[in-house]
Symmetry: C2
Subunit: 463 residues, 2 copies
């Protein structure tokens, strides 16, 4: 054990620190494409906010960088370690502290996974509605990226469900932000500021989350369309109908074919339709009453027919679950097909046709191959970019981001900037906003030890 590891062991116990060859390969990276793994000086596994505070006080005194790690399922490299730095892994802080059924809230530690939370809530008829497509993701990671996912069109994203946090500042103070209440106007909203800050402002050690009555009945409708433009144009009409979809996704032909094959799903779509469909719309509905669900399914089917769907299928439950699973695996499909990068640009939902036209122009102009799917109800477009030349690829991403921003969109809807996209952010965003964000960062973390390289990509030279 090196000297740093010995000092860390004094805080958490020797069995909860790894250094040198003992460091697991899995702890050197997340799932971002094109981000090189980094071996840190040590990986440490605290068991309490008190230990986290001691670790951060020590790191500040030594000027050592600290990177928080949840389940490592991130897609932007935000938990990539810093050379010489410490990884604080939250796998030992994975307790559901409290389920308060009267107030419809839970208190959880950051290492709790979405699967773990759902398993605890399901028997109580409750649901935490954020499902970003990876059930092994941790709540801590979800908070730090403001995770969204397929159900955001109905329930909103992580920031809409976090009522309060316990968080530790780089200087070791343990703060409690927010409360157990669904509304507040009591000073600056530190909870909201920490959400989505990707481990750069504070380490989250506990969270109070809203949960909701679990709707007992659900159905999924699948509609193939002759063109992607027809699908994206249908989206505002479905939202505007007031039916309140739980899920509203588009999947392009290539992604549908690859993703269903990946999970071994045969939807039984006649080949003459499958061959002519360039894109699909998936609409899931849920309800407290079966008769309402049937009525809503019928009205959505009728609307999709009016909007030019080639056909409308109401999927049996098992096929619906498999299709949602296939959609969730789209990233893995892109990865398996050797995508060079992925983006999750978000644009106004009605601007998707215009944005997708720009995507096609950018793809053709750079001889790249760009395909994907998206949380259509939110205008959140997930694209795999296949372009082997790193210089050309960089320009493709700049052009894609700029096209989205010109429509009132933003670089990332839910993946975050991490280390992978922060360079683009700094290049494309208003310098006055960047400067303000740097001042906010300094207000939380004056020595810049928390997750350097992420979001603001601050120089790590003096760490």
């Amino acid at each position: 054990m090196n000297d740093l590891a010995t000092r860390l062991a004094a805080v958490v116990g020797a069995s909860n620190v790894e250094a040198g060859d003992a460091i697991n390969e899995a702890d050197t990276h997340d799932e971002a494409l094109g981000v090189a793994p980094v071996v840190p000086a040590a990986v440490v596994h605290p068991a309490s906010s008190g230990e986290v505070a001691e670790l951060l006080t020590l790191a500040t005194s030594l000027g050592v960088a600290v990177t928080a790690r949840g389940s490592g399922t991130g897609l932007s490299g935000a938990c990539t370690p810093v050379p010489g730095g410490i990884v604080v892994a939250f796998d030992r802080m994975a307790e559901i502290v409290e389920i308060d059924t009267d107030n419809h809230l839970v208190v959880v530690q950051p290492g709790v996974t979405l699967a773990q939370l759902d398993e605890a809530l399901e028997p109580l008829g409750l649901v935490y509605p954020v499902f970003p497509g990876e059930y092994s993701a941790s709540i801590g990671g979800n908070i730090n990226t403001n995770a969204g996912g397929m159900r955001a069109v109905k329930y909103g994203v992580t920031r809409h469900h976090v009522l309060g946090l316990e968080a530790v500042l780089a200087t070791g103070e343990v703060l409690r932000t927010g409360g157990r209440v669904v509304k507040t106007s009591t000073g600056y909203d530190l909870t909201q500021l920490i959400i989505g800050s990707e481990g750069t402002l504070a380490l989250v050690t506990e969270a109070v989350l809203r949960v909701y009555p679990r709707a007992p009945h659900g159905a999924t409708v699948l509609a193939p369309f002759a063109t992607l433009a027809q699908v994206t144009a249908a989206v505002p009409r479905v939202v505007g109908s007031g039916v309140g979809p739980l899920i509203l996704e588009y999947i392009d032909m290539l992604t549908m074919s690859a993703a269903t094959a990946y999970v071994g799903l045969d939807l039984g779509i006649p080949s003459e339709i499958a061959n002519a469909a360039l894109a699909y719309l998936v609409v899931s509905l849920e309800s407290t009453h079966t008769d309402r669900l049937d009525q809503d399914v019928a009205s959505v089917a009728e609307l999709l027919d009016e909007l030019g769907a080639m056909d409308v299928y109401v999927l049996p439950p098992s096929a619906a679950a498999s299709l949602i699973d296939a959609r969730e695996k789209a990233f893995w499909v892109a990865k398996a097909n050797n995508a060079d990068d992925i983006v999750d640009i978000v644009v106004p939902r009605a601007s998707m046709p215009e944005f997708m036209a720009s995507v096609q122009t950018i793809a053709e102009g750079s001889a790249s191959w760009i395909a994907g799917c998206g949380h259509a109800g939110d205008g959140n477009v997930h694209l795999g970019v296949f372009q082997a030349d790193p210089v050309v690829r960089r320009q493709v991403l700049v052009d894609l981001f700029r096209a989205g921003m010109d429509l009132g969109g933003m670089i990332s809807g839910e993946h975050g900037l991490g280390t992978a996209k922060s360079g683009y952010f700094l290049e494309l965003e208003d310098p006055a906003k960047i400067a303000l964000m740097r001042r906010i960062k300094a207000a939380f973390d004056p020595n810049g030890i928390l997750n350097p390289g992420t979001i603001l990509n601050d120089p790590k030279a003096d760490l």
Copy 2:
């Protein structure tokens, strides 16, 4: 005109500046009880964000305090001017810039009132769902207090509907935060940080707001109960039923009697029930379908009966509208009855019975009279405090706030701290959080010219 007014007139034109005797009395205060009016050096009415930027650059160079003013309907003194300072009034920036029906969003200037926005949206079948009870309130004021109101139990509060802002820093930079998108994970969320900051971080000059399909059918159920504890205990059961109420309010006997008299409403409740009811629950429902509404009304009525309601009344539309109007007038009733102060503490909704028991103990122990009503679905309790002795009253408020905070609640659910409650906040809140908020304030407003005295109650000596 004094020298300052002359320099302001050079920015906005002489007809848009008042100084000295020309200042309107209405511009010297808001509606907070017990906050003394202050005559500023000047009131200025800019017409554009460019003019606001010029005004702030000038104020920074002169070291003059700036207080933003919307409609002046606030209840915490946040727009009370600073002696020698400038009031920036947004009455000339009151344009609905755009209604985007496809993306379900609107772009508005800060002086737009809720009534004005609703009038524009109603014919389009859309609704901006935040109704804090005062339709003349401005969007700018709503954003700065994170306004809530009766419909928050279904739709959430202001911060859930603001997608992006144009805001001017004290140093004159004009920023655009967020976008036209419903989700983002692209750097620190400046939009959320500015919301609820009561004019202390930046001046909002434009906002992008979400709007929603307007449910065409609604109904209101009124249930008298023998005790307040029964009413507050019923609240989590109604929320947990999954019926998704639009409005869920409690009104105590004294407030009900005074408020209905104030608006001249006779609900026709038999006198034997009216005399025995100590509190009322109001449940409003809305739906896309009349049959669903009828079914939901029946199930809520059945549930309230099970929970011990003395009777359940489904109100005819005109009586329902009058009752909601009476509830919205509760503040004016308290004021007309010479309440000495009001509070809007928020606690976990299931903790209301326990909190209300503490309220009674505090009232009895201090020989004060405390009555009110509340957004029960959100645990947001509005109380009028009748206690003429300022020293005793101050202690009563401290005790009330502490009782709420001990339950996981916060000082204000929607009114904000302003100048009226900031002293309590500084006394009761964790000093490490206050210090962090001061550093955030300095990151936005290094010279402290924006709304000194509000939230952090910074010394104004050097202004």
